[in-house]
Symmetry: C2
Subunit: 707 residues, 2 copies
């Protein structure tokens, strides 16, 4: 362990009027020594603070839990003992950005007593070179066996009016566009930051979601999130915007409580990532490292997936998941489509699905997603309907047997779709049979959805009840060797390390919004700093026809991206599950560009973030798993971006051919998004490429060894 | 249809200031003509009234539904059309009090429009000779597809300050002793009527439960209940005790709403039974008739059950469901009993269960219930614990394989026990495996339990969510050919006609309370008028040792019944599932009396109620199915009861031997409960028996043909 500099820390403490002293406070530093964590019990209240290279990251901040059913765990504590330890191991994820991940930290465990209530509580800190994790632990040997959380009061006291990239705190949706503002501006900008959603519940004019990315005036990047959210309620942050103190704000249950716990247990990790280099935010493995190792012995059935699907036709194209207009209100028990008139806008039909299968087979995609294959979509949404789907019965024009047979004959699988409409009991009641059906027909992945208000009524998308369900869906799926891609579920917190069949999630504003109301051009320069911290996102990139009015006159949609940036997203938005979301016929108009999507990998040996600034640009390079092929992507905001890209990550002994997909000079996400140029070039590790991303544009490069 | 006398009705209407007139009001009468129902829309409000032999049963009463999410269905209605029809059929229940049941009624269907809201609502009345059923129907062709009920406002306006046998309205328990009082006294007697329960939620100082039995000053018996409670919230009655108007009061969900409905749908039937002879209350099949016919094609696997079990040892005997004191708080995931010390008070062990199997085999019982067989009981209760049981894993001292094998070798089955602790999601998640385990080991019946507050938290025992669950448990069980005996579930409403594997329920204060705090001696003279209207109860009679302190010094329990009355209950408390609840060794002390329990049938060709007065006495005679054997039972209140019992129900051409089990002269439920005499006597249909029930006593007779 390196020498610990506590001078800056002590200064801060003194300034705050806290009695942290070197003599009394417990402290540890990160392996590099750059991050210092100080912790103590002051006047009975557990407190901590964090510095990075002597700069304040977290000012002295209180820790504690308020309980509903017994005295709080907020004060009256005394420090019984502390224990410092170190850990260093390298592990291999089943899939990921890198073949190996180093998990290296110093740990401080504070053991606390609350004598008045004969209770114990521990606080565990792990300090990495890229940040800090802390969690509450509740041993069984105290007087506490069962307790109900009223709220958790973990403070994150900021040292200034930082810039933040935030979305509104909400118990039911994460699908907001990011707002970039100073902390002091959050209150004023809150109303404008909120758009309508099928289910939404805000709680505070200064409440925001995690992962929250910030930047300080003196150039520190700070990110607050959580890791390993299991059997606990999801954390938001509520800001005291006078003092710039964030405090945890958990998602309540139907009775307003925020968690039912039984000792021994612990909270999820509260994470604080910090660096003076934005790229470190993106390359951090802090969240994964704070999760438990993989719980499955056999993971051979878990495979990254590149897919196309019957989806954009409904989202952007004016087609429907439903089959008929004749049944505005249906009951599955007595449902019969025999005498209904098909409305003719149901793309999940045999002919169309075959077209997608053919396209997937021709271009090397693994799977074809088909939404709207199963009966019940005529009134699937917004009615708090309990028995909304059976996840079993195909529409009359979807021959599940024949279509799977056809797909398999071409080396392609269909991807299952389970929309739950938030009716959780109904899904769990049908889950075993639904997964069984998938096994029967050879599906190995499911896209699940949780649109609308939850049933049990009064529960929220991110409460303990639902978090428990999402994980149940994943672990039950594992028994069937099924991978899960959950939409509208809770934002990920690195659980994919432990349960790698949680192959992907949505949990943010994805490409679909380009057809609804558009995403800001900067959106994909923020997501990797925020939403992707917890795990991959099914962003569904690859839209080539930006002007949706061209194929759907009823739409006003426009995709706020150049075509080339759509390619780059396969690299910048890391995911082991990647869709090419546009129509086959749109791709067929741009087959030279489409080649990049065909080529790009979905699993990696190595990833490098070359350039990064939240809200501005991200340039990433990744080496495809088990090959010497590299792929580079750049996504830029409205401002565009100019790179002088050193290819020094390439093998020094190898020669390569690069195919560069670049925005044309006059490209622009709004006015001229489809203008691109493709060039081939021999490159080596010494090559430097001058590249330019248009406003809302980017670039993409595939680099393969030659000779 | 007989001539309808409307004179009394018209009089009442006029007196109430309502404009019911013969010219405008719709009316029908029962097949006999004794009951007349009048219905109309007055100033936009649907109303009805009922008379019996020209006496007022229900004064003009309003009908309507208040909605949470759209305009109410309380007024603004106009009568579009009405339709009168008749129905008469005889059907055979799978099991029951009678081999055949006649379903004979006249029906009035009012079709209503609510023009302001472009909605339709129908009200259907069925008038039987023993009462009236009415329900709301919501057709799909109105403007209403989905709606949320704020409350139902069905009024039952009484014509006086009747005597009622009532228990406090409560969303979570039915386990109260009955109070006999005038309606005007309910408010004052409410507090005293409530005892503590593991889960209880009262709602009003004049709120009571159904089935509510009343008696008027002029000798009418009136009973209000509901039939066919499916996908709806359970109804209570709230009394306007100034005007003696009851109004329906549904059980709310976690958000305070009282039902989510989708058209086409209907409410359960609201039932009003009426007669001037109390015996008609007991012999009525109104509730069953208002339920749908059996939904199962094959019912051959549904068999009445007489059983003993490992249960009274825990309830009364100070033994435990749990295995050890070493684990005050356990987690099933990591539970290991290997190194725990058994507390030695766990009767669900191999040796003891074998004893019960031997006893069952020797005395002709079908099954042996074993509670506490499965792990998790150490902290099963009161902690709002989600994963409380797995319904799969036996305690170390319960060899599920060997014990079933042993039982089957003796022609006996074990009876499964599934305590859920109210953790419904957990039960449903394990249900398929739990039923599968039962199939594997040859169990064909399960006693399920719902002790404590519900999870999903905020839901109540009698809300729509739980009612949906109880029925799900029954229909899922049917797929496994399993019979369900649900404890703490919603009070039955005749669903056993439709789903006859719902073989029994508890849903009232059973024998267990004799060990807790005692039941009133009159309790079993009330239950058949109230709780049993909806279906059979697992009352668990057959206690021979009334003084519980004799075998459990820690108890102060005393069974408020003579031993002979315990025999009579097998006849007076009709059920196809009957337990002999006491210890084998207690029975062995009274084998001559025990013979009645061995002999008594659990399924019947014919039932007759010879004498009855709620709160006083009930004398019932039943002919065992497929035989010429009759069994008679009498249960009496503290006042005792003297009968001159005419055996005119016997076959005139047969001679019989009667074994009469009577209280001894000096018997008394409190001071001398075990004093009895058994006499044998030749009898015929002309025999009259003079019989006397002691205070809290009764008598029991078995009558078999001879010669």
């Amino acid at each position: 362990m390196k020498y610990i500099s506590l001078s800056a820390m002590a200064l801060v403490m003194a300034g705050m009027g806290f009695n942290f002293t070197e003599a009394r406070a417990e402290h540890i530093c990160s392996p590099s020594g750059d991050i210092v964590l100080n912790a103590d019990v002051i006047d009975g209240v557990p407190m901590y603070s964090v510095t990075y290279k002597d700069k304040v990251v977290i000012k002295p901040s209180k820790l504690g839990i308020e309980l509903s059913d017994c005295p709080d765990m907020m004060d009256g504590f005394k420090l019984v003992s502390s224990k410092i330890s170190s850990f260093d191991e390298t592990w291999e994820p089943v899939w990921g950005e890198n073949r190996e991940i180093r998990n290296h930290y110093n740990e401080l465990l504070l053991k606390l007593d609350q004598p008045t209530n004969y209770r114990k509580m521990d606080i565990r800190f792990r300090v990495y070179d890229d940040g800090v994790g802390l969690r509450y632990e509740f041993p069984q040997d105290g007087a506490l066996s069962y307790f109900v959380i009223k709220d958790e009061h973990t403070q994150f006291a900021m040292d200034g009016d930082h810039i933040a990239w935030w979305i509104a705190g909400d118990y039911d949706t994460q699908e907001y566009d990011y707002t970039e503002s100073h902390l002091s501006e959050i209150r004023d900008k809150m109303a404008a930051s909120i758009c309508s959603n099928a289910s939404q519940t805000q709680f505070s004019p200064t409440g925001v979601q995690t992962s929250l990315q910030m930047k300080t005036d003196d150039g520190l990047y700070i990110n607050i999130h959580e890791a390993a959210l299991v059997d606990y309620s999801c954390m938001h942050l509520n800001l005291d915007d006078k003092n710039f103190i964030f405090e945890s704000w958990l998602t309540p249950d139907a009775q307003g409580n925020k968690g039912h716990l039984q000792t021994p247990c612990h909270s999820p990790w509260r994470t604080i990532m910090v660096s003076d280099d934005a790229r470190d935010m993106l390359s951090s493995n802090l969240i994964l490292n704070l999760n438990d190792p993989c719980k499955y012995e056999d993971t051979s059935w878990i495979k990254p997936v590149k897919y196309v699907g019957v989806w954009w036709e409904m989202i952007a194209g004016g087609k429907h998941w439903s089959y008929t207009y004749d049944l505005p209100s249906i009951k599955l028990d007595s449902l019969d489509y025999t005498n209904t008139k098909p409305h003719g806008k149901h793309p999940a039909n045999n002919e169309n699905v075959k077209k997608y299968i053919d396209f997937a087979a021709e271009h090397g995609f693994d799977q074809v997603l088909v939404e709207g294959w199963n009966i019940g979509w005529e009134d699937w949404f917004g009615h708090s309907k309990d028995y909304v789907f059976d996840f079993q019965t195909p529409y009359p024009d979807f021959d599940i047997d024949k279509l799977n047979e056809y797909a398999h004959s071409k080396g392609v699988r269909l991807m299952m779709h389970h929309e739950t409409s938030g009716s959780i009991r109904n899904y769990e009641r049908h889950m075993e049979k639904a997964y069984g059906l998938m096994n029967k027909y050879g599906y190995n992945s499911v896209k699940s959805g949780y649109v609308g208000n939850m049933i049990p009524r009064g529960e929220h998308h991110y409460g303990q009840w639902l978090n428990n369900h999402y994980l149940y869906a994943v672990t039950e799926a594992a028994k069937h060797h099924i991978m899960v891609n959950a939409h509208e579920a809770v934002r990920p917190t690195g659980l994919c390390r432990t349960y790698p069949n949680l192959i992907c999630s949505e949990s943010a504003r994805g490409t679909e919004y380009e057809s609804f109301a558009g995403n800001k051009p900067s959106h994909t320069t923020v997501l990797p700093f925020t939403r992707l911290q917890g795990g991959p996102m099914d962003y569904t990139p690859g839209i080539f026809e930006m002007d949706i009015t061209k194929f759907n006159p009823d739409s006003k949609g426009h995709v706020n991206s150049t075509l080339v940036r759509q390619l780059a997203l396969y690299v910048t938005m890391y995911s082991p599950l990647q869709m090419a979301a546009d129509y086959p016929e749109h791709y067929e108009r741009f087959m030279d560009a489409f080649q990049f999507i065909k080529d790009v990998a979905v699993d990696w040996d190595q990833s490098k973030y070359i350039e990064a600034e939240p809200g501005r640009y991200i340039v990433a390079a990744r080496k495809a798993k088990g090959t010497d092929d590299w792929f580079v992507g750049c996504t830029a905001s409205e401002d565009g971006h100019a790179s002088e890209l050193a290819l020094d990550f390439l093998d020094k002994d190898k020669k390569y051919e690069a195919i560069i997909y670049a925005d044309a000079e006059d490209a622009h996400y709004k006015t001229n998004p489809q203008a691109y140029k493709i060039t081939k070039k021999r490159v080596t590790s010494k090559t430097k490429l001058k590249l330019k991303a248009a406003p809302g544009g980017g670039y993409a490069i595939s680099i393969k060894p030659v000779g």
